[in-house]
């Protein structure tokens, strides 16, 4: 019978204590796995999506708010800028592509984004051979009031090609908000799931947005008894413009140039997301990692205490093994193996719990944050962290093992 098997049998000879000790390691390991995976995925998810655009131009206000509202569909926009600003930008030779966005309505909480088809011709910067937005079925919008919906929108609302729906005023669901019943949209395309914010958006033509809100303004004028106003292109507005530059090095210069314009500002998405990450997410993640480390340390101490107690209770057994010819180093190894088995068992179950939990929670992250996780990916940092836990567990077994190693068997054997 090998020492491994003996150690295993000894562990399960005290099932309750072993289960408790393993549970401590499981929780610590699962917490580490969860925090590290969320850290990696949120970092890559947020950063890579932000990195798809070099600049976002919008109304003056908070740059972070502008980035969150126009790229991630999370915050409210800073306001609108004249459509003429967008036209000016399209003529700038330094700009590779400019995509206008017009926000204002939602359908069941999913934002309706007015834009043009240039959005769908953008290449994915992570894999330039692919497009950033891909149709799963149907076609792109050709006419006003045709809509291309994100994968998550289709899944959650049940909308499919050919279906009609009406938007509600505002960017979020608000009780009493008016529905634009006179302007129903028709679904003509559904996007493939991308694990990004586009899954949660509905794309329509920019003029659709203008026509709905032009009508709304007109209605308000009539109610107020104000004379109708002739429509003018000078009145047209966009919420933001997404820019890709020909040279990424121009980001700062161009943002400063745009900043000088009275009505607009430019934000560098990557910088804003990095700042958000460093100021808000990273400290939170560090706190969680510290908690995970504490859980692991407590578990390691628990291993030491358990094994110490077990070795004390087993003094008689260990003395018998010595009498049978076991070397002190074999006794030492036996006790250390118990610690190692507890730790490895806890790590394996913790890894499974952490990653399995993330796999189960993936739909929630996708639906609520627009981040699609790769829940089973184990990177180097995670392997190193779990390796440190394994070493900690091993060290936790050393003290009781040394105690057992040093003990003279004769004192623990029965005597006449």
């Amino acid at each position: 019978m090998s020492l491994w098997r003996m150690a295993w049998r000894y562990l399960w000879g005290r099932t309750f204590v072993t289960v408790l000790t393993v549970t401590g390691i499981v929780l610590g390991a699962a917490l580490i796995v969860t925090v590290l995976t969320l850290q990696r995925e949120s970092e890559t998810g947020f950063m890579s999506e932000g990195g798809q655009y070099d600049l976002v131009v919008g109304a003056k206000g908070s740059p972070l708010q502008l980035v969150l509202s126009s790229i991630y569909h999370l915050d409210i926009p800073t306001g609108n800028i004249p459509y003429a600003r967008f036209e000016t930008l399209t003529k700038d030779a330094r700009i590779a592509s400019a995509v206008p966005l017009g926000l204002g309505d939602n359908y069941h909480g999913y934002r309706i984004v007015g834009t043009d088809t240039n959005l769908f011709s953008l290449a994915d910067r992570r894999d330039p051979k692919k497009h950033l937005y891909n149709l799963a079925e149907g076609v792109l919008f050709q006419n006003d009031f045709e809509a291309v919906i994100g994968a998550q929108v289709a899944r959650q609302t049940g909308l499919k090609i050919g279906d009609s729906f009406v938007g509600t005023h505002g960017l979020v669901i608000t009780p009493g908000s008016s529905e634009h019943r006179a302007f129903p949209y028709k679904v003509v395309g559904v996007l493939s799931p991308s694990g990004s914010s586009s899954d949660n958006a509905i794309y329509i033509t920019l003029p659709s947005v203008w026509r709905i809100h032009e009508k709304e303004v007109e209605t308000h004028r009539q109610i107020a008894g104000v004379a109708p106003k002739a429509a003018s292109t000078n009145d047209l507005e966009v919420t933001a413009v997404l820019l890709r530059l020909k040279t990424i090095g121009l980001r700062l210069l161009m943002s400063q140039e745009i900043q000088k314009q009275t009505e607009s500002m430019a934000a560098i998405p990557v910088n804003e997301m990095l700042r958000l990450y460093q100021q808000v997410l990273q400290p939170m993640q560090r706190c969680l990692l510290a908690v995970a480390a504490l859980v692991v340390i407590v578990s390691a101490l628990s291993i030491t205490a358990t094994l110490y107690q077990a070795a004390e209770r087993r003094r008689h057994d260990l003395a018998v093994l010595r009498a049978l010819g076991a070397h002190p180093r074999e006794i030492f190894t036996l006790v250390v193996l118990e610690a190692l088995l507890v730790t490895l068992l806890g790590l394996a179950a913790g890894w499974l719990l952490g990653h399995g939990g993330l796999a189960l929670a993936n739909p929630y992250f996708r639906d609520s944050l627009g981040i699609s996780l790769s829940p089973w990916t184990t990177d180097r940092i995670e392997i190193v962290s779990l390796g440190l836990v394994a070493i900690g567990g091993l060290l936790a077994g050393i003290l009781p093992a040394v105690q057992a190693y040093r003990r003279e068997p004769v004192t623990d054997l029965s005597s006449t």
């Binding site: 019978m1 003996m6 049998r9 000894y10 000879g13 008689h316 057994d317 018998v320 093994l321 010595r322 009498a323 049978l324 010819g325 076991a326 070397h327 002190p328 180093r329 074999e330 003279e408 068997p409 004769v410 054997l413 029965s414 005597s415 006449t416």
Partner: protein, 236 residues
């Protein structure tokens, strides 16, 4: 071949300080003791006369302060701790009054663990020999039962099987029948005697039961063998 290699046990001028009571040092002292190859010896005497101490010294579980202990011609004092453990596991078998079985493991596993640390057989042979030995002591139907679910007589039978599993040259039995009723004690005693004859190993058996002791070819009264010296410490 020297004289000592023909003996299973040879103890010479052995002295061991056992501890102190008040200001007195209790010292175990044995000038000479021998057990021949295949010889069966009963060690008798009242409690505290040094029977178990002698057994522990012969087993190498205790080290004398002075003197020499040879087992199968090997001077135990010259062996490193690891070599002594290996030597003990391979050369000697142990039977204790309280059986000293490992409760976590089955009867079969207890015997196999004895073989694992005895290192006398290749691991592939453990099971076959352990099963054969347990059958020999009448436990063929109790192989996978843990000691806590065996009767005391059965436990001692497992201990006997474990003790002879490595075909030791010397079997040390410390009050092996002390915890058994008279009928079972007699059965176990006969079993120990018989297996020692079958396995051709010397037997050094500690017992209080003179009726059993007299059934072995040689009896040694520890009171006549071991001297205890109580040395009075003079303090200023």
């Amino acid at each position: 071949m020297t004289a000592s290699t023909r003996l299973a046990v040879e103890v010479q001028d052995c002295r061991l300080r056992l501890g102190s009571v008040s200001a007195e040092d209790i010292v175990f002292q044995l000038s000479e003791f021998r057990v021949g190859q295949d010889e069966q010896v009963a060690l008798t005497g009242p409690s505290g006369c040094g029977k178990s101490t002698l057994l522990n010294l012969v087993a190498g579980l205790r080290k004398p302060d002075t003197g020499e202990i040879n087992v199968q011609g090997t001077d135990l004092g010259r062996l490193s701790p690891s070599s002594l453990d290996t030597f003990r596991g391979r050369t000697m078998g142990f039977i204790f009054q309280s059986f000293n079985l490992l409760d976590t493991f089955s009867a079969l596993e207890n015997v196999m663990i004895g073989m694992r640390f005895g290192r006398a057989y290749p691991s592939a042979k453990y099971k076959e020999r352990a099963v054969a030995l347990l059958e020999r002591v009448g436990l063929q139907r109790r192989l996978h039962i843990r000691p806590t679910r065996l009767s005391v007589g059965e436990r001692q039978r497992v201990a006997i099987a474990r003790a002879i599993a490595n075909q030791p040259a010397l079997l040390l039995a410390d009050e092996p029948t002390g915890a058994l009723d008279p009928a079972t004690a007699s059965e176990v005693f006969m079993l120990i005697r018989d297996v020692c004859q079958e396995e051709k190993c010397a037997l050094l058996l500690v017992t209080h039961d003179l009726s059993l002791a007299t059934q072995l070819p040689r009896q040694v009264d520890c009171l006549n063998l071991v001297k205890h010296i109580a040395k009075i410490e003079v303090t200023s």
